[in-house]
Amino acid sequence: MEREAMEFDVVIVGGGPAGLASAIRLKQLAAQKGSEISVCLIEKGAEIGAHILSGALMDPRALNELLPNWQQDGAPLNAPVSEDRFFILSEDGAIKIPNSLLPKCFHNEGNYVISLGNVCRWLGEQAEALGVEIYPGFAGAEVLFNEDGSVKGVATGDMGRLHDGSEGPNFQMGMELLGKYTFFAEGCRGHLGKQLEAKFNLREGVDPQTYGIGLKELWEITPEMHQLGLVIHSGGWPMQPDTYGGGFLYHLENNQIAVGFVVGLGYSNPHLSPFEEFQRFKTHPEIRKFLEVARSNPACWPLKPALMHLPKNASTMN
């Protein structure tokens, strides 16, 4: 059986901030210059945002450039950062580092505490309004090449294959999405990105990429302990001094807080468990004081513990 093929000017794989921003920009440029370009974006999650997990603090600089009217258009940036605190933790103590000693990357004046999933949902709506064809629920499974070796597009995965690879009763063959240009915006360690890196030697001459895994939970706490826009970062305990990692606790709107922990995946002890380091981090007095008030109020509950990982740009600069 032949796969069905569809042609576009640009095919984008991945509906995170990178994929959505490029889709929007392409359509804006076409509208400005009065030309037509067709843009298709696929996302493996069941909807845009379903696979997005981030902190997150957002610097609105890129958004100001991309969609300067974001405030009127209802972008979900509702919690301007009101205070930064940085602690070096020991098992039961905490030293607050004066803000004047913190490097610039821990100063968040002017930034917002956001749910990146919600921001992506909103970007998805803006993209659709500009005419981007968004297909959630489709995973890019294979890169397609022209005879000269250049990228022709991607094929989406088959549906309904059984465990042994044979075609089941609901089998549906994937589709070919062909683009004059194809953008790979899969986030870090992309399934297709890995294949492209190998085929085109994209990692030659640069440092190996380093990664981190981030774990995060959303809690709803009592209003008395909630301070909209409060941003806390920590280093030290429970990580050993030779292991890179740190915690965060951000106060969002609606009495919610995002509490999370990032562990650098360059750690050396095979007994380490990032998930359990995060669970342990929450028992620190400086952190649990926020969560315990959730416990004492039956209307408050941990919402969605969830996990994903964080690319570190240590090597993209070289």
Binding site: G45, A50, G117, T156, K180, I213, P270, T283, A306
Partner: protein
Amino acid sequence: MLAAEACFDALAKECQHDELTAYPEAFKASWLHEELHLSRNFKPWMAKGLKLGSLMFGIDQMVFGGKAPWTLHNTKPDHAKLKLAADTQPIIYPKPDGVLNFDRLSSVFLSSTNHEEDQPCHLQLKDAAIPISVNLAQYDAPEQRFCPAGVYEILRDENGSNPRLQINAQNCVHCKTCDIKDPSQNINWVVPQGGEGPTYPNM
């Protein structure tokens, strides 16, 4: 955005399928490049330990404003940095109390992740023997711990013999840690059927 601009210009010139060389050039000239460049040494310094790392990154930023005449390099990929189990200390973690801290499975449940079980496994082992012969023998099967969703389990017979790896692929939350950190680089994460995986409402 910069890639989109380079692409739009190329389409306007009726190019296709070629490399967008204008994109890396525009990136180098952008504010983002400037920002990333100024903090490039953060992680490499921190890899040298919290105290020395903080001190040196502090000097890097405060004295040189990020424009220090050095760039630290990372030479080993993450998976190659794991030491042997025998050469390291076991870590004892507190038991979850179900109030403040939780176990993996209740967290996976809240991520609402789901995969059709009857499909080709999307966590492919290049060599089916390695999880036991190398990973268990030398590293005490670290995939049981670095996977946050409890996908990898070592099962044994009642008398503790015959260890084997079970892969609960339906619990996967698509974090790709196994692909990155497996010391044998024996796990290949591939996309499962579209529409599966976690369903985060607002993360």
